[in-house]
Amino acid sequence: MTDSTTASGTFDVTLDVNGIAYPVHIEQDRNLLSVIRGEVGLTGTKEGCDDCECGACMVLLDGRPVNSCSYLAVQAQGRAITTIEGVMTGDDLHPLQQALLDEGGVQCGFCTPGMIMSAMALLADNPSPSEEQVRIGLSGNLCRCTGYTRIVAAVQRAAAVPHA
């Protein structure tokens, strides 16, 4: 699963993040979050707990939502990793991003990238979720600011956009 192993327990691996191949040299116990933020240099993915409890670090692995703080980076080799930086199409916001702005679903914004990743996975699975399904689908992402009302409304609004 790795390109090469060195004596000190570090590995040379190549990670596919948002369609770009990043060769990185990392310890085997490094979590994916710290490698995305540190080595790959994309800081949109946040750390809120390092304990699989908040969802701020959510990324997609082959389209499935994963708390990257609790996932070994070396295991992500060979999979398509999508972070918040890979969500836009060119200069165009993804309908979820636009809907969060329109509905007022963003306050401090720290939960927002993780929320968007979870919502993308939800909508990929279920293009027209009920409110209840949205609430369950986002229940792994804590938001302390909004009370969730406007985030749920934004996901439903985005779902109504063609090809969201």
Partner: protein, 765 residues
């Protein structure tokens, strides 16, 4: 209430915040996202023990480790005691540690792993001291003292202190003994609220870098100027050599108020001669900061006539200050006000003690003291209403303050909307309609002052017509800074998008108190309007010259200046900006003048820190429908109806978001959020797995309604504060719903399933 001044808003129009695109794309930078060449990682050595004397502290081995650049203890920084009200604290523990999260030493090393190894290599030996773990016991004369030297500490003159009592306050009005004697019923209650936490999703982070004798500190503070003052005081630097910059802030809720680790990291960076970065773990976020919502013990007694008229209220409170006095010193008076409540009561005697313990220090968390005090008082109020057989909503209608009424501290209110809030909240919840027998609606009322303080802003418009608002204000997520663009745009006949905001940087902007006290729009809004007014005058003068008209006839609208009555005689603001760029530049500055505190009559206050007089008071009523599983004690909130008088609402979508978020925080406080301690005063649930926040799946529908009344001493256009007020009444309303379902109140907060179940079983909890 008159038709011309009152409006009821229920649904918000669109408002897209200026920082929104940064936040939805992941391009916005938060403090932990910053990286500087050569940056080192910081780690702290904490006491990890509730109360002990340091008998040995040896950092030799840690200092000798490869990759370690600095190890600091109390011996390595100026010997300064600091604290906003009581100077009882030092940057690093000296001789004694008084709570588990107290910092004994700090390390800067090449990376976090090495830094942690060095922290572990520091040798500390302790001699245990008695652990003061109980608020009421700490007040007894036999109790050991958390600060045996308390009398030698500097402190604010107004504070009344005695041994473990760090701040005593009382509010007295009328003759409470006579009032009780005149009552037909006297109802006594005891309630105990646990402490809890702000829990912003972003953990704290600080990055410091020195250039020569100046330091720049990027930090997650809600109050940049306060953080600067703390650094200057503890490291003995002038304000103009310390620059505090706050990148995007990932929430605060009061938890990031005050001065935290900026000085520790600056001191490390100075010794290491390298930039240093601190990023907290979630556990550190729970145990270390001196901003925790305090636990409070309440004994409340109310005298009432058969017809439901309150004759007297007496209350005694003991509040957990923790080991050091942060901004909690003014909480005694604030909690006393909230335990008196927004009621017309002729005779009042409330006494509140802020008590040292060996717990994490308390500090301002969203509406400090009010949710707990409202919970206790409003639960008690339902007991009083039941004693006289009056419906709780009707009881509040009769006794709550209204326009022209005199409150418990002797303040006479101008036009206020509390009675309308009661009607709207109860109506929105369907109060009085039949419900299944496992459901009930509880109702509670709350209030909160607006904080009127100095605040400044500049506005400039450059040669291309692009504007900048340069403000000392701090954005913590509420959107209040974002709203400033609308105010400037309105003054200048421009669009909000014509302005960029330069904010949360102490080196470039004038003073503002920060994202605290719900004060941004109230105070900085006035400053921005004043600054924009100066620029408007400058534009009008230019336009008058250009259009050969009188300055007084110039109108600014739609990006143009025109002559009143002849709209064809016009010049664009962009053209005027270009003219100005070659001569008299377009620059305005504004400073907000605080409103005076309203007078109090017939009351006396001991330990008076100005919290008994509420400037532009805000009022609220929440009605909450709760479903109870009587077999398990599990309560579920089905619907919240929240009505607020926070003055005129300037940014409706932001205002709705504040209420919705605060209500959810209130549900958490009501049902799941409470800190528990072991017998050594260490937190037992300092992790999100054990300290449960409400999730999206838990969130009920929340109906938000505003009663909009113009208040003269409020902020721009009659806006009062808003961010804290909606956090106050939710837990109380849930308590009253549960009491209806159980037949008696749950006397401890949070009202966990276990405590609810015990109450159902009849245990006096």
């Amino acid at each position: 209430m008159t038709a011309t001044t009152t409006a009821i808003t229920t649904s918000p129009p669109r408002f897209v915040r200026a920082d929104g695109p940064d936040k939805v794309t992941g391009s916005g930078r938060y403090t932990a996202d910053l990286s500087l060449t050569g940056v080192l990682a910081a780690k702290f050595r904490y006491a990890n023990i509730g109360h002990a004397r340091i008998v040995r502290l040896d950092v030799t081995a840690a200092r000798a480790m490869p990759g370690v650049f600095a190890v600091l203890t109390a011996d390595d920084v100026p010997d300064v005691r600091f604290g906003p009200f009581v100077q009882d604290r030092t940057l690093f523990a000296r001789d004694v540690v008084r709570f588990e999260g107290e910092i004994v030493a700090a390390v800067a090393a090449v990376n976090a792993v090495v830094a942690q190894r060095a922290v572990d290599a520091i040798v500390v030996e302790y001699e245990p001291l008695p652990v003061i773990n109980d608020i009421e016991a700490a007040l007894s004369v036999e109790s050991a003292l958390v600060h045996p030297d308390w009398q030698s500490y500097g402190a604010a003159d107004a504070l009344v202190r005695d041994r473990n009592d760090a701040s005593f306050a009382s509010i007295t009005k009328g003759d409470v003994g006579a009032g009780m004697a005149a009552a037909d019923h006297i109802i006594e209650s005891r309630y105990v609220a646990d402490g809890c936490h702000a829990v912003p999703i972003e953990p704290r982070a600080v990055v410091a870098q020195w250039e020569g004798n100046k330091v720049t500190i990027w930090t997650t503070t809600q109050v940049p100027f306060d953080a600067r003052a703390g650094v200057c005081e503890t490291l003995q630097l002038p304000t103009n050599r310390v620059r505090i910059i706050v990148p995007h802030l990932g929430g605060g809720f009061g938890g990031k108020c005050g001065f935290h680790y900026e000085a520790h990291i600056a001191a490390l960076a100075r010794v290491a001669k390298r930039p240093v970065r601190l990023v907290f773990t979630r556990r550190e976020e729970f145990i270390a900061p001196d901003r925790r919502r305090e636990s409070i013990v309440f004994n409340i007694e109310t005298g009432v006539l058969d017809d439901g008229t309150i004759t007297a209220r007496r209350a005694w409170l003991a509040m957990d200050n923790g080991a050091y006095t942060a901004d909690a010193a003014f909480f005694s008076q604030l909690a006393a006000m909230h335990t008196a409540g927004p009621y017309r009561i002729p005779n009042v005697q409330v006494e509140a003690h802020l008590v040292y313990t060996n717990h994490q220090p308390s500090g301002s968390v969203r509406a400090p003291t009010a949710p707990q005090a409202c919970w206790a008082l409003e639960s008690h109020t339902d007991e009083v209403a039941a004693a006289v057989g009056i419906d709780p909503v009707e009881f509040r209608r009769r006794n709550a303050v209204d326009t022209g009424a005199v409150g418990p501290s002797g303040q006479t209110y101008g036009e206020i909307g509390l009675q309308q809030c009661i009607d709207l909240a109860a109506g929105g919840a369907g109060y009085g309609q039949p419900l299944p027998d496992d459901e009930a609606i509880g109702v509670a009322i709350g209030w909160w002052p607006s904080f009127s303080v100095p605040s400044g802003a500049y506005i400039k418009i450059d040669g291309d017509g692009a504007g900048q608002i340069i403000t000392g204000a701090q954005e913590c997520g509420t959107g209040s800074v974002m709203t400033l663009r609308d105010l400037a745009a309105d003054e200048l006949g421009m669009k909000p998008e014509d302005f960029e905001l330069v904010y949360q940087d102490t080196a470039v902007a004038p003073y503002d108190m920060g994202a605290t006290g719900s004060q941004t729009l109230l105070n900085n809004g006035r400053a921005v309007i004043a600054a924009a007014g100066q620029v408007a005058e400058q534009l009008k003068k230019l336009a008058a010259d250009h259009l050969e008209a009188a300055e007084a006839d110039i109108v600014l609208a739609d990006g143009h200046a025109y002559v009143a009555g002849t709209p064809a005689t016009t010049v664009s603001l962009v053209e005027l900006a270009g003219i100005a760029a070659g001569g008299q530049l377009l620059i305005g500055h504004g400073s907000s003048t605080p409103a005076e505190a309203p007078p109090l009559a017939g009351s006396s206050c001991v330990g008076d820190l100005g919290m008994a007089a509420f400037v532009a008071p805000q009022f609220s009523c929440h009605a909450v429908r709760v479903k109870l599983d009587r077999d398990t004690g599990v309560a579920r909130v089905l619907h919240v109806s929240a009505a607020h008088d926070s003055g005129i609402i300037i940014n409706p979508i932001g205002a709705h978001g504040q209420v919705e978020g605060a209500v959810m925080m209130g549900i958490g406080q009501a049902l799941s959020e409470g800190t528990t301690y072991d017998d050594q005063a260490r937190q037992r649930n300092a992790a999100l797995l054990e300290y449960k926040l409400q999730t999206c799946a838990d969130a009920p529908p929340i109906l938000v309604q505003f009663v909009e009344i113009f208040t003269p001493d409020a902020g721009p256009r009659g806006a009062k504060g808003l961010a804290e007020a909606p956090n106050i009444a939710t837990a109380a309303a849930i308590s009253n719903a549960l009491a209806k379902l159980i037949g008696r109140p749950v006397r401890q907060l949070p009202m966990t399933a276990e405590r609810v179940w015990n109450t159902i079983q009849g245990d006096a909890s």
